[in-house]
């Protein structure tokens, strides 16, 4: 373990010490698109909540692929290698509901992922205009989950809202195809993110969100899934 850390530090020192003699350019990328997520525990919780309805409700959405965006600042270390850091954002959610003439009942879950981490890219194929790169990132993933249940029956109404948070490491790997236009490049990227899952805890009292059928098990967020994004790259001369 210690050897690995030493090798990693040595590699980082070598890369950083070489940077001045090689590429000088900095760049900024903006990406926006769609990302899927597994969220098996939250889908399970959604099924459980639905089963507690006094009527036969329905899950109208269950954590579908939804908006994903990221911003990355990088330095061109070598002709083929870029290194940097950035912020990524994803969101999804689920809803179960029932409504008839006498009232309605609904449960909504909204989950957002804020990821901050390091970015590495390797140019596989470079042409005059077209570049094909492989990239990867290692990030700390902060998940916020809000869970709201509400009912209105005749003249009675009531609701409950809880917020949960989790922290987990995540790794992503993918490829990007960019078309260069002077100081800006446009293209797209696609990849797969592996989230190592984080236990969800109540933001107010820190209590874990437990499995209703097994209180020993804590439910977790899981953003593992593919992503596809449109990407813009701006070169900066710093």
């Amino acid at each position: 373990m210690r050897k690995r850390i030493i090798y990693s530090i040595a590699l980082a020192v070598l890369l950083v010490s070489a940077q001045n003699s090689l590429g000088q350019d900095w760049g900024l990328t903006f990406s926006a698109g769609v990302a899927s997520s597994q969220m098996n525990d939250l889908k399970y919780l959604q099924e459980h909540i639905l089963s507690t309805y006094p009527v036969e409700g329905k899950i109208t959405s269950s954590f579908p692929p939804f908006t994903s965006a990221s911003i990355t600042m990088f330095k061109q270390l070598y002709d083929h290698i870029r290194i940097g850091g950035g912020y990524s954002y994803s969101t999804t959610g689920g809803k179960s509901s029932y409504a008839d003439y006498s009232g309605d009942i609904s449960t909504e879950m909204n989950a957002t992922s804020h990821r901050l981490g390091a970015y590495l890219s390797y140019l596989v194929l470079g042409g005059d205009r077209l570049d094909l790169s492989l990239n990867g990132s290692l990030e700390a993933n902060l998940t916020s989950l809000s869970l709201q249940s509400y009912y209105e029956i005749l003249n009675y109404s009531n609701g409950i809202s809880n917020n949960y948070r989790s922290l987990s490491p995540s790794v992503s790997a993918g490829g990007e195809l960019m078309y260069t236009l002077k100081k800006i490049s446009l293209g797209m990227e696609a990849g797969y993110l592996v989230d190592l899952k984080g236990d969800l805890k109540d933001t107010d009292d820190g209590d874990p969100l437990v499995d209703p059928n097994d209180t020993e098990r804590v439910l977790s967020s899981d953003w593992t899934g593919w992503y596809v994004q449109l990407k813009a790259l701006i070169w900066l001369k710093l």
Partner: protein, 146 residues
């Protein structure tokens, strides 16, 4: 032309802002299929009496049976005064002669609430009920008491 480009991108960005927050406005709308309506039968000790007199007081004994449903509540009021309420389908209460200001015939109202069997959300949580109101003429005879 150059001034329009930032405006275009700002509008584009703002128009996409709603997509940054997941939301689902869809509600699963259902038209409940009602079951057979329950049948309520009520019997009281006043059923066979004609204008029963309230000299000092009068006891009313009732029994409600709901076939194919659930009994919720009974209220009784006379001279615009609530004199009894219960969630029991069998019971009794007293009508006191002091309720009336003067002698004469008044009406005892008994309201029975029971399940609607509409299979709606309100029915499932016992918030929706059928009502049946029974009326009995009672004769306040205050000669001896007032």
């Amino acid at each position: 032309m150059r001034t329009y480009i930032p405006i275009f991108f700002t509008v584009l960005l703002l128009s996409g802002l709603h997509a940054c927050f997941y939301s689902d406005s869809l509600m699963y709308e259902v038209e409940p299929v009602p079951g057979d309506p329950p049948i309520l039968s009520v019997s009281t000790n006043l059923d066979t009496l004609h204008n029963p007199p309230v000299n000092d007081s009068l006891e009313v004994i009732y029994q409600a049976v709901v076939e194919g449903g659930e009994f919720y509540y009974v209220y009784a009021d006379v001279v615009n005064t609530l004199i009894f309420e219960s969630d029991s389908s069998y019971g009794s209460f007293w009508i006191d002669s002091v309720l009336a200001d003067s002698s004469g015939v008044d009406t005892l109202y008994m309201e029975f609430y029971y399940s609607s069997n509409t299979n709606s959300l309100a029915d499932k949580v016992n918030y929706e009920a059928r009502t049946e109101i029974l009326k009995y003429a009672i004769d306040f005879n205050l000669g001896g008491t007032k």
